[in-house]
């Protein structure tokens, strides 16, 4: 009787004899062979007997079903075949003698053996939406995005700049003399660029060096540092205070 051996890496997770009854494979628990992995569709594929042959059919899954490295829609199975679904492998083993039903099909063209290693896969559309929504909901409840609806501002407390206060509406804010600079330095010896502030998608702001080493609350910034309301920035002879405002 044919046997399916579910493996993850080197470890065997499950062995299953295949009789005349169809074996469905998928992520949801009502499948005959459950593979609990986000890359696997709820109903992913099935193994069944047809005209005395053992067959494998993919239900149009997003990330596909592979036999010996080739993506398949439907194919017959032979002993020694390796079926890959996501990161899991199902080995086809056993003989047909005992039951006398499943005749291993001689394949006219042998399939190439090329295991799918580290194949990049997409999360199922539905699964992805649920995951992203879950994260967004949790993000709103927690304090992860303190400045979500707030405007970031810089107030000049020392030094020569073209304005006394700046509202940071762009994703990139440059401090310097350059034409790209939002915070324009006016001094004769002011550098073209001194520092930059990047706004990330959660409306957090990070300051980093851009020619000069800025200090935040007196500490030099070697790698980009997240700004909090009330932080004092010193760079190229000017002093700024960072605030989130409603």
């Amino acid at each position: 009787m044919p046997k399916l051996v579910l493996k993850f890496g080197d470890s065997v997770l499950k062995e299953l004899q295949v009789g005349r009854k169809e074996v469905s494979i998928g992520r949801s628990p009502n499948n005959g062979l459950v593979i609990d992995n986000p890359a696997v569709s709820n109903r992913h594929a099935r193994v069944f007997s047809q005209d005395e042959h053992l067959m494998l059919e993919d239900f149009g899954s997003l990330n596909g079903t592979f036999v010996n490295g080739q993506r398949v829609k439907s194919t017959s199975l032979n002993p020694g075949d390796a079926v890959t679904i996501g990161k899991h492998t199902i080995l086809v083993e056993g003989t047909h003698e005992l039951d006398g039903f499943a005749v291993w099909t001689p394949r006219t063209k042998p399939l190439p053996v090329a295991p799918q290693i580290n194949e990049t896969i997409m999360l199922d559309t539905k699964e992805r939406r649920e995951f992203v929504q879950k994260l967004a909901a949790e993000g709103e409840r927690s304090q992860l995005a303190p400045g979500r609806q707030k405007l970031a501002t810089l107030v000049v407390i020392k030094g020569k700049t073209d304005q006394r206060e700046y509202t940071l509406t762009d994703k990139l804010t440059v401090i310097g003399k350059s034409s790209m600079a939002t915070v324009k330095l006016l001094g004769w010896f002011a550098p073209k660029a001194a520092a930059q502030i990047n706004r990330r998608d959660d409306n957090s702001h990070y300051i980093g060096a851009a020619g000069r080493l800025p200090k935040v609350n007196g500490k030099p910034v070697k790698r980009p540092v997240k700004l909090e309301t009330g932080d004092v920035i010193e760079v190229a002879g000017i002093k700024l205070e960072f605030h989130y405002r409603d």
Binding site: G64, F66, T120, L135
Partner: protein
């Protein structure tokens, strides 16, 4: 502007499903990692980079191609144009996938940068990355749209757990999957000495950031840096296709203004202004 690029199949795979493209005219650099059965991954990544190039060509942000998607506030026109080009690549892959059964389910990641004087647009979908080396410090400019990266950002997993995870290659966003795709895009500042790296996960899954940093620091030119990065990934296992483009925006190509010193500097400053 000086750049070097290399793309290799690695030591396990039989096909190279990565594609890259460079336009000297536009100072545009694009890397894409394809996915899908049979040869469709290669087709998807090729289509992705070609569509981005075609969409951006024309004169700067006044490209003749119609704008795709909604404008993003707070970024430059060039960055918006780059995001539009990537949305257009998404549609192109989807359309091609619908046309033949063999291409069904194909998709691609993308990372693209475009330099205009001191400004650089950076855009990405998926887990191909852009990095910048500045003052000898490496910084990742893009964020990965992967299950693991999202969980790390969210605090459900530490960075160490993330890089050991079996699910590293599960993506949350990709080109060609749905009719609409969310593109991350931002402006960046370029200053003298900056080195930019675009790469696929075949590099970053094999070579830790610290080693990438030291290669970018020590390589004598951009091509040597790209070669050394790909070699390092192969030495570490080469389990996936590996692609790296290294750009040194303010570096002179050998031969250009070779009379260095004060005169060369002055000529360069004229060239940069025009």
């Amino acid at each position: 502007m000086e750049f070097g690029a290399r793309s290799e199949v690695g030591r396990i795979r039989r096909n190279n499903e990565d594609s890259f493209a460079v336009s000297r005219e536009m100072n545009l650099f694009v890397v894409s990692d394809g996915m899908g059965g049979q040869a469709s991954g290669e087709i998807a990544s090729r289509l992705a980079v070609d569509t981005v190039l075609a969409h951006c060509s024309g004169s700067g942000s006044n490209s003749t191609s119609p704008f795709v998607g909604e404008r993003i506030a707070g970024v430059s026109d060039s960055s918006n144009r780059l995001a539009s080009a990537i949305r257009s690549a998404n549609l192109a892959i989807q359309q091609a996938a619908h046309e033949s059964a063999a291409k069904q389910g194909m998709g691609a990641t993308i990372v693209a940068v475009r330099c205009e004087a001191e400004r650089m647009s950076v855009a990405n979908v998926g887990d191909s990355r852009a990095y910048r080396l500045r003052d000898n410090q490496l910084e990742q400019l893009t964020r990965d749209h992967s299950l693991v990266a999202e969980q790390v950002r969210h605090g459900d997993m530490t960075e160490e757990e993330g890089s050991a995870s079996e699910l590293q290659n599960v993506l949350l966003r990709g080109l060609g999957i749905e009719a609409e795709v969310e593109v991350d895009v931002t402006d960046e500042l370029l200053i003298e000495g900056d080195v930019i790296l675009l790469c696929t996960d075949g590099l970053t899954h094999e070579v830790p950031d610290g080693q990438i940093e030291s290669i970018l620091r020590s390589a004598s030119d951009a091509q040597q840096a790209a070669d050394q990065l790909v070699d390092a990934a192969n030495q570490a296992g080469g389990r996936d296709n590996i692609t790296a483009i290294v750009v040194r925006p303010f570096s002179q190509r050998p031969g250009a203004f070779s009379g260095a010193g004060r005169l060369g500097k002055w000529l360069r400053s004229l060239a940069n202004q025009s």
